[in-house]
Amino acid sequence: MREISCHKVASGFASGPSLATKMAISFLGNIDPRTGMVVDPGHELYGESISGKVLIFPGGKGSTVGSYVIYQLKKRDLAPAAMINLRSEPIVAVGAIISGIPLVDRVPSDILQLKNGTCIEVDSDRELIRILP
């Protein structure tokens, strides 16, 4: 088991299979709020579902409406279980907080290379990520 220290943005504890991308995510436009699927053909995660995953990406971008898209996903049980950013920006940070999804940032960038489907725990309040064997 590997432990990585991180910085809390939105509180909470969750675990799930990892889904990582080196590309920023615009929740408005990249993700379908009715299905939780990545619907932008230009995105590395095109065709993947982010629901229930520990979603690992550098940070958010695009419209501030993206915060509400995250909330909408959560209300429909389609949200990621937790999110990890290299550096959080306001859209994803606010979206995670209003939705009660654990979000941490300030982690080493090699986490973006983690094999998808790896089981991960995010303990935001203790500022710890555990990569389970």
């Binding site: 910085h7 943005v9 939105a10 509180s11 709020p33 501030t64 409406v65 915060s67 509400y68 898209v69 909330y71 909408q72 209300k75 550096r87 959080s88 920006e89 306001p90 859209i91 940070a93 606010v94 907080i97 209003i98 009660g100």
Partner: protein, 394 residues
Amino acid sequence: MYLSRDEEAIYRGDRGETLRRMMEILVALGDIYGAERLVPVRSVQIAGVSYKNIGDAGLEWISDLEGQVVVPSILNPAGMDLFRYKEMGISEEFASKQRETIEAYRRLGVIIDCTCTPYQIYDSLAERGDHLAWSESSAVCYANSVIGARTNREGGPSALAAALIGKTALYGYHLDHNRQPSHVIEAKAELEGSDYGALGFLVGKEVGDGVPLFRLRSSPTKDELKALGAAMAASGSVALYYVDGVTPKPPEPTANYDGCERISIEWEEIEAVYDEHGGDDADIVALGCPHCSGEELERIADLLAGQKVKKEMWVCTARKIKDACPDLVARIESSGARVFCDTCMVVSPATEGFEKMMVNSGKALVYLPGLGGVDATFGSLEECIDVALGRKRS
């Protein structure tokens, strides 16, 4: 970030889940932008009002919140005139969702004025040196530049967090060192009216999120400053500017601002904005972006003077302004033009029903083409009214 004992208690959740999350928003933003602490705000202007923008997700979020705002808080424009939406072509379905959104804000103690120009209706919301948490980009620009208050451009949730907590994180335009000019703009022409919107349209593209300082040959009125800032906040993301000798000065004024990039704007460049967006073939003329002041309504009423419009014409303003000058409104509407409140051509889905809209606003000129294929033409107020009356541009 430093939190006082009270703030810490809210962050822990001692005062309930809504306030805990609101404090979490302020702290997260403070951490992202390197704020040392929170600062009390005098007033809040909340984005995320038009149902067209927030959808069911936003509406549900606002409806789920509990509590009351603790500082005067008002709203951005909504997606429709809250009373005359049918005349705008808004569906009952949209209207009902929009009303629900407004009711959710009312329940939180928010003052139900939906306007991009809060400073035109309440003097008490902002004075020089005040810290604010305002949202609408042109209002932010006006508050920072013309009033000399201090605000970042807040998103919906961060503005609501500031309203419920009464504070915002101290970063960005709240701090002197982010309020120094980055560009000096020399405008080599006498300007008036919509010329300022054209100037802002050009300069915003050049300076992006910079802080321009203007040296002008003419002395702009408050309405002209409103138009200048609105256009720069749309074509760029300008949130603060200076006009030498007119607005409050930068924190550390110098004689020449030697470190700044220099841009000079010739009259021909202003004229080109009109020429490139010319034509008399708009199917609607829309004025009031940002919302008209009483003086602007008077000018429009004078220009219409007993004549009948041949095209659809909207004049957008704040409800309080409309209510304060019923005679002007009656004079404008006797021409067949309509004075709509609570909304504008940029945020209402009603705009999508038209093909080409003529405006005197640099801000609307930026945003309209992105709205469902609505072309925009640009002219002075006088030209807009000529076109509405079915005359050639003068």
